[in-house]
């Protein structure tokens, strides 16, 4: 069972103590908005600026850290966090440390998804491989990173363009469809 630790802001402490979401929804287009829900005077949404979130496994090992330098919003009922100007560190996934830098993030704990809907650059910190994409999604339940929206994978001397990249952290491989790879010689 994953333990969520919120740090760096009062709102995120509140976030860590929230009850389980009543309605999962599952689709990001609905999560984070109040579409279909009655407005209440006790709004569950909190907005603040700057904060950090860590996610650990049951043994206390940090799985990922999210640093938000811009504004962020949490929604208690929907189980979501939205933030601007973010740095997301994925720790020791597939034998590598990864970092994503993005203008926007959406975290949905119910659907177990972290999304960068305005694009992101995700790079292994050893410099071996990186991705640039118009949309990036991390699936917390299976450890897959999906890069879509004219994505490019870059290696030290080569690059690959494809319709979509699926980075499987557990199996330590990248799969893609409709690819064009350009290698240095």
């Amino acid at each position: 069972m994953l333990v969520i630790v919120a740090a760096g802001a009062v709102a995120l402490v509140w976030w860590a103590q929230r009850p389980a979401p009543k309605e999962t929804g599952g689709e990001w287009s609905h999560a984070g908005s109040n579409a279909g829900k009655p407005a209440t005077s006790a709004s569950p949404s909190v907005e603040a600026r700057g904060g950090e979130i860590e996610q650990k496994d049951h043994a206390g090992k940090v799985l990922w850290k999210l640093k938000i330098t811009g504004t962020f919003t949490t929604d208690k009922n929907l189980g979501t966090v939205r933030g601007k100007d973010v740095q997301w560190d994925l720790v020791k996934a597939g034998g590598k440390d990864w970092r994503a830098v993005a203008p926007e993030v959406q975290v949905d704990y119910s659907a177990k998804r972290i999304r960068f809907p305005s694009g992101a650059r995700v790079a292994a910190l050893d410099g071996a491989v990186s991705f640039e994409a118009g949309q990036v999604e991390y699936q917390m339940d299976n450890g897959k990173l999906i890069c879509s929206g004219q994505p490019t994978m870059r290696l030290r001397g080569s690059y690959v363009r494809a319709k979509e990249f699926v980075v499987d952290m557990q199996r330590r491989l990248v799969s893609a469809r409709r690819v064009r790879a350009v290698y240095a010689r």
């Binding site: 597939g94 034998g95 590598k96 292994a124 071996a128 491989v129 994978m153 290696l155 030290r156 001397g157 080569s158 690959v160 494809a162 330590r172 491989l173 990248v174 799969s175 893609a176 469809r177 409709r178 690819v179 064009r180 790879a181 350009v182 290698y183 240095a184 010689r185």
Partner: protein, 183 residues
């Protein structure tokens, strides 16, 4: 004034050399397109499947088409080291102009597999390999040669074709007096 004239020429030569160098750098690539790809980052290995096409740029331009290809990068992941295309496959090479300005097209097929090693820039085709060499531009009376053998080797450095246990059939004027069939 004379110094200025020489300086101008030197500048032109330097800029020209830089542009040529950049052009040479740009042409040193190999491109693979395919339906599907898997990249294993621990071994720096790519596996391609479905309509795989390799294009190797350079003085002798080559294209290999095959159903499956695997690409091994160098240990530092900076460049291509080795490629294997699993057949049936088709290779097309357009050679650089020879000393007489003549270009040739080599179209080769193989049933089993082909390998490409970047260090020597040689494509080796294995299994019922066959190749046709045609002098360009192609005309009805253009010289043609047909090779078949167990193994064909194509050098992308020199444009040379060599073979093991080869059978050759030649048509037209190649500049050599002998024509016909050899074993």
């Amino acid at each position: 004034m004379k110094r200025l004239w020489w300086a101008g020429w030197a500048l032109i030569v330097i800029v020209g050399a830089m542009a040529w160098g950049q052009a040479q750098k740009r042409t040193r690539t190999a491109e693979v397109s395919a339906d599907d790809m898997v990249f294993k980052w621990e071994t720096n290995q790519f596996e391609f499947t479905g309509n795989c096409v390799l294009e190797v740029s350079g003085p002798n331009q080559a294209t290999i088409a095959a159903p499956r290809m695997s690409v091994q990068l160098t240990a530092d992941g900076r460049s291509i080291k080795f490629l294997k295309a699993t057949g049936p496959l088709r290779t097309t090479v357009v050679t650089a102009p020879d000393s007489q300005g003549v270009k040739r097209r080599i179209v080769a097929t193989a049933a089993q597999y082909a390998t490409y090693v970047e260090a020597d820039q040689v494509v080796e085709m294995v299994g019922d390999a066959q190749a046709d060499i045609i002098t360009l531009p192609e005309k009805p009376d253009s010289p043609k040669a047909h090779f078949s053998g167990d193994v064909l080797r194509l050098s992308l450095k020199s444009g040379e074709l060599s073979a093991k246990r080869v059978r050759i059939r030649m048509e037209g004027e190649f500049g050599a007096p002998e024509q016909g069939e050899r074993q």
